[in-house]
């Protein structure tokens, strides 16, 4: 190592790098809020304020040391945690018990799972250089054909297979249009959304008419973890979750490893950053992009299938995804096109949805407004106020072989 490289090494304090401090700050902000709600339920103002100020300090220190994105995140988390914590100490314990039971965690995971699949899917596609605003449509395909497969095939496994195939097929159209025809990828993605809305709605009406999906369709089972499912806090939180939730969580490190630690991932990212260079070293840019878009459709379809045969309990309604594909897109952007970032964003957005479902004990209208939070946060993120979101360099640019 040269002196120059050493000079660039980040400053540390107490043996902690600014980045670690910033992450700790984020956690402290959460803790400030956490301290005031069950099971701890601190009734004194002092507790959340003290922890929140600590988070704020950690964030400011990290920002001053150049860790902007996570640093501002810690500042925001500190302010939010402090504010919400103070609000919680003012609220009655009974209301708090209703809103913040341990199963809130389970519910957050339920709401976050479709977003996780969608965001990971979008990430795979965009990392290869194909913008995917058709996630919503691919999810919707997964939702309908998933429940159709489970109904006709008699098993949720068949349903998942059908969902993956349907999502992959629709993604193939998007891939053909964006890679082969070099059409505008956003136009193509929007077309995919309209098309999926029409196809699923039409076939739902055609195949099931005015009756709904029959009761008793095979659904994805829950996984009861022995030893945990009867514990006091962990039991309701994670003791009995849907199988697909665990698969979604497993896909996060998996996609990180594949995308950032294997040669396959390197190829995908090379196509997204500099396709010409990738082509020069013998990577088939078209094939990689095709594969990435199709995988993206399959992942999004899994998220959709979770809605219909996972947590949905074997049901379907027209336009069932209701914009979740777009929140997944937002989560991917908010997470800066990275697996753990996208997952974190999906959890945050899932949390805001789960909370919105419980806030009506305080105020129904405020709970509705709360649902807009993910979009406002993403808008702030793309505007670069909390560190710029940087898409892959060749994202959305068709590649022409020479």
């Amino acid at each position: 190592m040269t002196n120059h490289a050493q000079a660039l090494r980040p400053e540390t304090r107490f043996g902690l790098s600014p980045k670690v401090v910033a992450v700790l700050g984020c956690a402290l902000g959460l803790a400030a809020f956490w301290s005031a709600i069950p099971p701890f339920t601190a009734r004194s103002l002092l507790v959340p304020v003290a922890i929140g100020v600590l988070a704020l300090a950690a964030g400011i220190w990290a920002v001053s040391r150049g860790v902007r994105r996570v640093g501002w995140g810690a500042v925001a988390s500190g302010i939010l945690g402090l504010g919400l914590g103070v609000l919680a100490t003012r609220s009655s314990s009974a209301n708090l018990e209703v809103v913040f039971r341990a199963d809130l965690i389970a519910q957050v995971l339920v709401f976050a799972t479709p977003l996780t699949f969608g965001a990971l899917g979008g990430m795979v596609s965009e990392r290869s250089g194909v913008v995917n605003v058709g996630l919503e449509g691919m999810m919707l395909m997964g939702a309908f054909w998933g429940v159709y497969g489970a109904d006709k095939g008699g098993s949720w496994a068949v349903g998942l297979l059908a969902a993956v195939v349907a999502g992959g097929l629709l993604a193939l159209v998007h891939a053909y249009w964006s890679v082969h025809l070099r059409a505008d990828q956003i136009v193509s993605g929007m077309a995919i959304n309209f098309l999926a809305l029409g196809i699923t709605g039409y076939f739902f009406e055609q195949l099931y008419g005015n009756q709904n999906i029959p009761a008793g369709v095979s659904t994805i089972p829950n996984v009861a973890i022995p030893g945990i499912d009867h514990l006091a806090f962990l039991g309701p939180a994670i003791g009995d979750l849907n199988l697909l939730i665990w698969i979604g969580i497993a896909f996060v490190p998996l996609s990180y490893i594949v995308l950032f630690k294997t040669s396959i991932g390197l190829r995908v990212r090379a196509c997204g950053e500099h396709p010409r260079a990738a082509d020069t070293v013998g990577i088939n840019v078209y094939a990689v992009r095709y594969a990435a878009v199709v995988v993206s459709g399959m992942l999004a379809a899994l998220g959709g299938a979770f809605l219909s045969i996972g947590f949905g309990g074997g049901s379907f309604t027209e336009n069932m995804t209701e914009g979740r594909g777009f929140i997944a897109l937002a989560a991917m952007i908010f997470g800066n096109w990275r697996p753990f970032g996208a997952w974190g964003a999906a959890l945050l957005f899932g949390f805001s949805t789960a909370l919105a479902f419980r806030l009506p004990v305080y105020s129904g209208s405020a709970a509705t407004l709360f649902q807009a939070l993910p979009y406002v946060l993403t808008l702030i993120a793309v505007a670069g106020l909390i560190g710029r979101s940087v898409p892959p360099a060749a994202d959305g640019r068709p590649y022409t072989k020479q």
Binding site: M190, A330, G364, A372, L379
Partner: protein, 404 residues
């Protein structure tokens, strides 16, 4: 196609232009062929789905045609009495066309500046909300100023809502597609909050109903065709037609329009030529939002009069603007014609459709499918143009190489 190449073409030259290339040529000549073919293909594909699922596509399309009131045009002498079905259907189609023209222009204008506005739905909703607020709250005003205030306020609100995306693009480079998608959902949830239980714009007479208040009669835009009670066609239709003219004038006869088009063709060259590109981004988005906001105002003051939380959730019409603008090639006349087509399709597949002929719940989804196919095919013919240009360039280069 190349097999049919004329014999007098030397072998070293390009083979005779293929189907796609000739299509591109027709397109460049300003022909109607590509959009018409796009629509025909989409309807054909939709018809195949209808036939494959055991329905007669001919009767289905005939049902939609009649449901849209298009049959009225062929029943001469024209009978303008809207108590008769086809005249009524046509008036409803034109009512939908009014909205579609404006949300179509909201996509077309920024497109000419190289921006893709997916936020038409959000800007439309913001216009709708503001028009409702003005319509309910300024009840003591006389009709003309009241209507004008509602239209003006909604237009400005739409412009501001879209202007946010333009400003973010100019100031930070945030992609307008992402920011307009986010602004859509903020508007959708904002609307549900405002009209919902306990919301600031909820009606005062029934606290249980999550609906807005009903606008005062003074804020109603007068109806000129049909009954004011049964959703007759209001003068907003002419406002939309005027907007088409304004769009054309703005784009083709003003400095702003020239600069917007210059930025759309090539932002770097435009900047080099002294055009403030960032400013054009903001202006183009604001004008676009003004069109969509106006659409919301005309709907609210023309025939909706009130709006509920469920309506906010179900509303999709702003998204149709994308298909309208793309099919209309982002021109004034094209947008007008495409809006009429989609207006008929939208009304003819829903309330206008006779349920005994074809199930409206199927037909409504058929509309989404056709909409998707049209957007998909239009996306592909941008490629056809591109291919045509590339081949021409290649040919020119080869010719240049041959002469030197």
């Amino acid at each position: 196609m190349s097999a049919a190449a004329p014999l007098n073409v030397p072998p070293e030259q390009e083979p005779s232009p293929g189907f796609a290339v000739r299509l591109g040529a027709a397109q460049r000549a300003g022909g109607l062929i590509v959009p018409v073919l796009t629509a025909v293909l989409a309807f054909l594909a939709g018809g195949i789905v209808v036939a494959a699922t055991g329905h007669n596509p001919w009767t289905a399309y005939k049902g939609i045609w009649d449901g849209a009131g298009f049959d009225w045009l062929f029943h001469i002498p024209w009978d303008t009495n809207t108590t008769h079905l086809s005249a009524f259907n046509l008036s409803q189609t034109l009512l939908t066309t009014t909205t579609l023209i404006l949300v179509g222009l909201a996509v077309a204008f920024p497109f000419r500046c190289g921006l893709f506005n997916i936020g038409g739905q959000g800007q439309y909703l913001v216009g709708l909300i503001v028009a409702n607020w003005v319509g309910v709250d300024f009840a003591s005003w006389p009709t003309l100023p009241h209507v004008l205030l509602g239209i003006g306020a909604a237009t400005v609100a739409g412009a501001v809502w879209a202007g946010i995306a333009g400003f973010l693009k100019a100031a930070t480079g945030a992609h307008e597609v992402i920011s307009t998608i986010m602004l859509n959902w903020i508007a959708i949830w904002g609307g549900q909050y405002l009209f919902g239980q306990g919301g600031p714009l909820q009606n005062t007479y029934n606290p249980a109903a999550p609906e807005s208040g009903t606008i005062a009669p003074s804020a109603h835009i007068p109806v000129f065709w049909g009954s004011p009670v049964l959703q007759g066609l209001d003068y907003g239709f002419f406002v939309a037609l005027a907007a088409l003219v304004v769009f054309w004038l703005l784009l083709n006869r003003t400095t702003l329009g020239y600069e917007v088009r210059a930025v759309g063709y090539n932002p770097e060259a435009a900047a080099y030529g002294g055009i403030d590109v960032k400013r054009k981004y903001i202006e183009a988005m604001a004008i676009s939002g003004a069109f969509a906001g106006l659409a919301g105002a005309l709907d609210m003051l023309g025939y909706l009069f009130q709006f509920g939380v469920l309506d906010v959730q179900a509303s999709q019409i702003g998204f149709l603007g994308i298909a309208v603008a793309l099919l209309g090639r982002n021109t004034a006349i094209g947008t007008g014609i495409a809006a009429f087509l989609f207006g008929g399709l939208l009304y003819g597949t829903t309330r206008g459709l006779n349920p005994n002929v074809f199930d409206p719940s199927l037909a409504g989804n058929l509309t989404s499918m056709i909409q998707g196919l049209i957007v998909l095919f239009v996306g592909a013919d941008i490629f056809i143009l591109y291919l045509w240009n590339a081949r021409r360039k290649l040919r020119l280069r080869r010719r240049a190489a041959a002469t030197t």
